[in-house]
């Protein structure tokens, strides 16, 4: 496990050459990658979300594509479509793959596109394949979708419904950097884009192996009970939560805790892993009741309340 920890430390070190700060975001994205799952990034513009994902794909030698969601974006713009191609006097329909045919897809401002377009992306996320017409095209593994949402300027947007948001393993809140970090950013990028040479740390094959390893990470039975109890409590606490998390959240929490243990170089899951991952796993899966919203509570506050009672 030590050698894997060294690999991850090297990965973070390479990332820090481009991204200053945002360590928690990077760790959680990596955890989601190890769980073969997708991440919803919520943060204000200009917090290096796109840059972070792009850099990560370079360090893992994965194909990266970005889709900027707009209200007029069509499903075929994401999945690809058949186009007519003339060759030697003959016309054929050739399938032109869309940007979804990559290893890491960054769906920027997913809440700006229509539900129809969102569902095309979400279908690919779930099935790891795309159906166009009567043909199905499998996606190249590993396949991840990192969707972003802007918490401001939500007028005219189509917020992801609860059922769709549930398909993302984690919802990561991207925060502003600290004063010192921002000074470093200004120092680095104040005079233009620096030329940074990145050395790939993980290959596609290594990543697939790490994904299998993360599944096998041992977790004690009482910790499993703890994770399930937490999710169960989210359904029982009607005084603060109107709708709690589903059993998918229990599975997600345990898988995320296992991946975190692997990233930290441990050979077992600890209670700290469960407690730390509870926030990104549950915050988009629970809906607070009116009373809690009136008091100004957030979903994070509700989850912390559940953790205290555990």
């Amino acid at each position: 496990m030590r050698e894997y920890q060294v690999k991850f430390n090297t990965l973070f070190k390479e990332l820090s050459k481009v991204i200053i700060g945002q360590n928690e975001m990077m760790e959680q994205i990596l955890i989601a990658l190890l769980c073969e799952a997708n991440v919803l990034l919520e943060g204000y513009p200009g917090l290096a979300k796109t840059l972070a994902v792009k850099t990560l794909s370079e360090l893992m030698e994965l194909k990266f594509s970005r889709v900027q969601h707009t209200p007029d974006l069509m499903p075929s713009d994401i999945t690809g479509t058949y186009i007519v191609q003339e060759h030697g006097g003959k016309r054929d329909f050739i399938f032109q793959p869309g940007p979804i045919f990559a290893n890491i897809v960054l769906a920027d401002e997913i809440n700006r596109s229509t539900p129809k377009t969102q569902s095309a992306l979400l279908e690919a996320m779930q099935e790891k394949q795309v159906t166009v017409g009567n043909k199905t095209f499998p996606l190249d593994l590993p396949f991840f979708v990192l969707a972003t949402q802007n918490p401001i300027e939500q007028e005219g947007t189509y917020p992801l419904p609860e059922a769709q948001a549930d398909r993302f393993l984690l919802k990561v809140n991207v925060v502003y950097p600290t004063m010192k970090e921002e000074l470093d950013i200004v120092e680095k990028y104040g005079e233009g884009e620096p030329k940074v040479k990145l050395t790939p740390v993980l290959t596609k094959k290594t990543l697939l192996a790490l994904q299998n390893l993360a599944k096998e990470m041992p977790i004690a039975n009482d910790l499993k009970r703890m994770a399930v109890k937490l999710v169960f409590m989210s359904r029982e606490r009607k005084d603060i939560i109107q709708y709690g998390a589903s059993p998918r959240a229990s599975i997600g929490l345990i898988r995320a805790a296992k991946a975190r243990a692997l990233v930290r170089g441990r050979n077992h899951v600890s209670a700290d892993d469960i407690q730390t991952m509870a926030l990104p796993v549950l915050r988009h899966r629970i809906i607070l009741n009116f009373e809690s919203e009136r008091k100004g509570l957030t979903t994070d506050d509700a989850i912390r309340e559940l953790l205290n009672k555990l």
């Binding site: 096998e216 041992p218 039975n221 050979n267 077992h268 899951v269």
Partner: protein, 281 residues
Amino acid sequence: MPRITKKTFFGTIREMRFYANSIFVLESLLSATLVFLILYLVLAFFRLYSLIAVIPAAIYFVYKLQNKLRINKLKMIEAYYPELEEKLRTAYDYRKSNNPIAMELKDDVVEKFNGVHSSMFLDTKKIATNSVLCLMLCFLIIFLVPHSMNLGKYSFLLEWTNMQDIPLFKEIKARGIGEPRAGEGGGMGETTEFTSGHTGVVSRDIFGDYSLAELGEKTIEVKLKPSEYEFTLREDEDAPEPYRTSVLPKDIFAEGAETFEENIPKEKQQLVKNYFNEIGG
């Protein structure tokens, strides 16, 4: 106490369980002995059948041992050795798994187990306290039981509370439980009455069961009178008639002594009196 020395994970867990269970048996036995001694002291002091104390002591031993065996030994070790925290119980839950991470975890735990002493299961303070208490109780039993109480003296309490008709107390009184046995002192300066009309309680300890004495075809009534070695004057009374007639032969009798007086005139009586006083000095 020995360290846990097995090299395999299963062997380590087995060895740990063996030491822990042995220590728990010892502690339960000591606690049960304490209970036995307390009950024995109480029962013997009130002259009740003291060996009955074995039953509650045995029940207590079983109860205590069951509770001890239910303790999660893995969590106990983890609390004592922080470096094993969470690792030990995770490795135990995955003891049958062969995946590479689980194997590495088990090896890690076995390596760290070398520092584990089996004495961590021993509650030395409790064992020391119980041992001292047992010793004290033994001495108490030795010194107090000979001065045990006569429950029969308090039978008037039953009469006052109208409880003398309760079958249990009737049975106790009929069997003479708690009352002094024949041949024993009252212990508190009391007498046991041994007149023929009142034999008190005759213990069967030394006299055995009642049986008929037969001489040829005749049944002889034999009464063995218990001997007593102390008595109080206020309860002394004349020997009963049969005792006097049976012990002394007929030609020996007592009659009142007679005294003879000289007819000394009244005016000279003082002189005679002074004379004898002078002789007596």
